[in-house]
């Protein structure tokens, strides 16, 4: 890593940031799941875009639909019903045939999952698992193995050549997460979706994995969609942040602006509710209640029962999208548009 990266990114981001060319454009994506009794809407009408090489974070709590959204982008979960459009590099993913979709996975878009302990096949060697992405594409065993080795080297797995033939149980948590990362990166995708990639790891390991991800994303100009619940991780990694609550994106903005001027009461509450390791405060401002489960979503603005600035309209009318002076896309009745 050289001066280059530091200059392009800088400690202080450029005030006007050109929107990179769109790679992924999600339009009015809704995700439903049919249970025995009823149809439950897990994600309601979300739209967002990711540019080439851009790092976007999708932040949310349990039940917010962040992981479901992530899996929907690759159509990984066959039990949910998807509607809307997911444009990836000009193709509508939702209208592809299963085999066309399979060809996109691994090749154009890769995914990393939360728990490195359970993400790997215990009976297959590391080398075979990393190379599998390529083997599926019909690349020869030798070439696939060589490229698997290259990726593991790129991810700074020590003595990677010797370790190709070892099994997952011989690796530590951080090492396994690198292998999982290698499986997603070996096909040289344009978009990497990382679903809570460091939640199961200790802070120091987490930091190293995030650094690696940062470095590779810059080097390969790889777009990254980071799914997390941790505002701290978001702050250090993402260019842009989307905050999801109960199946909807309630706020979206450049990372710096979002942290400096959170607009939605939920975003603000979230930032104030988290203790910090660098300052001492007397008391945390807490958000009352708990995030709703998708089957029992409140009417109107789904956040209104917990919101300290709720108005009469909030419980009945779902707020539309408004753009605030700080550039945030926000769904809240406090911000006109209505």
């Amino acid at each position: 890593m050289g001066v280059d990266t530091i200059l392009t990114d800088g400690i202080i981001p450029a005030p006007v940031r050109r929107r990179p060319e769109a790679l992924l454009q999600v339009e009015q994506l809704s995700i439903d799941i049919a249970t025995r009794d009823a149809n439950v809407r897990l994600v309601d009408n979300v739209s967002f875009g990711i540019g080439r090489g851009e790092r976007v974070a999708l932040v949310g709590e349990s039940g917010s639909g962040k992981s479901v959204t992530a899996q929907a982008l690759m159509r990984l979960n066959s039990r949910v019903k998807l509607s809307g459009r997911v444009n990836f590099d000009g193709k509508d993913l939702l209208s592809l045939s299963p085999s066309q979709m399979a060809a996109m996975r691994g090749q154009r878009m890769g995914m990393v999952f939360q728990d490195p302990m359970s993400s790997l096949d215990p009976l297959m060697t590391i080398g075979d698992q990393v190379a599998e992405t390529l083997r599926i594409r019909g690349i020869s065993k030798r070439n696939a193995r060589q490229r698997a080795l290259d990726v593991l080297d790129e991810l700074k797995v020590e003595r990677a050549a010797e370790r190709l033939d070892s099994f997952p149980h011989e690796f530590s948590g951080g090492m396994r997460q690198r292998v999982v990362l290698a499986m997603a990166l070996v096909g040289e995708p344009d978009l990497l979706i990382a679903d809570e990639p460091t939640t199961a790891l200790d802070v120091r390991v987490q930091e190293r994995v995030l650094d690696l991800l940062d470095e590779i994303s810059r080097r390969r100009s790889l777009a990254v969609l980071l799914i997390t619940h941790d505002m701290g991780i978001v702050a250090g990694f993402a260019d842009r942040v989307m905050v999801m609550y109960s199946g909807r994106i309630v706020e979206e903005n450049e990372a710096t602006l979002l942290f400096a001027e959170p607009q939605h009461p939920y975003t603000r509450g979230l930032l104030e509710a988290v203790p910090r390791a660098d300052v001492t405060v007397d008391r945390l401002r807490s958000i009352p209640g708990a995030p709703p489960v998708p089957a029992a979503r409140p009417s109107g603005c789904t956040f209104h029962p917990r919101c300290d600035r709720a108005m009469a309209i909030c419980s009945s009318v779902e707020p539309g999208e408004a753009i605030t002076p700080s550039g945030a896309r926000v769904r809240c009745h406090l911000y006109g548009a209505g």
């Binding site: 505002m231 978001v234 250090g236 001492t280 708990a290």
Partner: protein, 269 residues
Amino acid sequence: MLQIDHISKSFPAGRGQRTMVLDDIVLNVDEGQSVGLVGESGSGKSTIIRCALGLAQPDSGRVSYSGIDVHRASRFDTLRFRRDVQLVFQDPYASLNPRMTVEELVGEGLLVHKLETTAAGRRARVVEMLRMVGLGEEALARYPRSFSGGQRQRIAIARAVVIRPKLLICDEPVSALDVSVQAQVINLLQDMQAQLGLGILFVAHDLAVVRHLCTTVAVLERGRIVEHGSREQVFDAPQHPYTKALLEAVPIPDPAIGRARRTERQLAT
């Protein structure tokens, strides 16, 4: 009040070797004091808790509570120790018996320690306790599964605190909760401590939470306490490299700090 006095513990690691899990741990919690114990996974946090509660036997050293040697106590003293020292678990889903109602769960301590001998008296105390943790009377007949994670953790706290213990050991009590709910439970613990004069031993991997709740902090690295001091000493002027490394790795919800740190690390390599 609670004195963990030079305890060590090791486990067999095959081929006649033993791995040291705890190495000469010294830690005291005084009445009304809140002590934080920070460590990563595998640092020995849970072994310390188990030893402190008398559930595991250290190889050497002793744990004493107000003069009671926890591991060699008489029946009577053990019962007193059980009444005075309680635990709040990490996982609010696994720590409540799914087949007991909230009334039974919260009232069990009163029953076991014969603090309220009548059912009506127990119920009154349970209701009072539930109010303190922010739950209503209507919770009495319900089972844990109908509550959210945050509410279950309140029930767990009520269950532990209803018998008015002097020391509450908290084992990562908020790490399994949603971010927006964590603050509620943290605040509740603070309230309990202020109202009841509880001593708290707060064990966690999350440095931010520990900084928020504890005035004294110990840092555990692979079974050894490497740094031990007041909150300000440990967080603002850490001495041990391990503490420094941990603090530097904790994500801070501020993009400027996050990027500056990454740049620093990249320059260092």
